[in-house]
Symmetry: C2
């Protein structure tokens, strides 16, 4: 009997932070989590209690925090999803690293396992193509540089069309 365990975006962030802190050697303590997520310490306490209730972490007040098996499994999914998005934004779309990171943080809570899998697959595909001499990202970058103005313009045109459609009924 699997527990579907839909976590809120916020709780996913906490779980991810705990995983990342554990992984990089830094202790997963309340304070570190607060710093990592840029939230006040009491917010962390509340989140930890919720995660503990859901049996995703081992949590004793004033102690270290570790992931349960279920928690580690979920954290794994969350981290991979994040990585796939960030990599896609950066390496395929050519968004600069910072913006890619920020967008991934926000978008990650929206995409489920199916899309994550296909996204990961797509990244592998682009990689494989590159190895057989066809660099899709480079081709796209050239295409984008060349047609950027057209793309922007086509957006603007659509906006104008909409305006004429909507402007006069009040």
């Amino acid at each position: 009997m699997k527990t579907p365990q839909q976590l809120s975006a916020s709780l996913e962030d906490y779980l991810e932070a705990i995983y990342l802190l554990s992984r990089t050697g830094k202790a997963a303590r309340s304070k570190n989590i607060a710093e990592h997520l840029q939230v006040a310490r009491p917010s962390v306490t509340a989140a930890l209690r919720t995660l503990a209730e859901k049996e995703l972490i081992f949590y004793k007040p004033y102690g270290y925090i570790t992931l349960t098996e279920k928690g580690a499994w979920m954290a794994g999914r969350i981290v991979r999803r994040h990585a796939a998005l960030e990599e896609f934004f950066r390496d395929v779309l050519g968004v600069d690293a910072d913006a890619a990171e920020r967008a991934a943080c926000l978008a990650e809570h929206a995409i489920g396992p199916e899309i994550t899998l296909r996204l990961t697959g797509y990244l592998a595909f682009v990689e494989a193509e590159k190895k057989s001499g066809h660099n899709i990202s480079d081709s796209f970058e050239a295409f984008f540089k060349k047609h950027q103005q057209d793309i922007k313009a086509s957006c603007r045109r659509r906006v104008e069309k909409m305006h004429s459609h909507l402007a006069d009924n009040y």
Copy 2:
């Protein structure tokens, strides 16, 4: 002087709904918006007041709702962003139409203008490639079918590695 006007995800949804209702001929009235977004009517009233305060809609109690110029401009961006994501999930990643739609609804609030532009550009790129005889989506679909198991397995392996790393310190 541009108004940056960062809307919440929820308000973006309301603005998008008003736009879509106007567009498809159905009157943008409180009731229709509630139906479209599957929320209770009083929730709509509150949202409309906020949007009116921000001068994105014309709103008189008990009347029809229309977009201001600023509102129409923002709605346009929101709708294009949504469309780009949905199209990408469906036509490039090959996710089924329903799931693509649902994911787009959630993810759209996370991506900004820069990424929307590049995403739109990427879709145009894939389209252009197809016209010159190179169908990237088909190639990907074949690749995905072939390597799906490997991709899943590589995910699983990473999870297992993580478990061994985390399992024993509590």
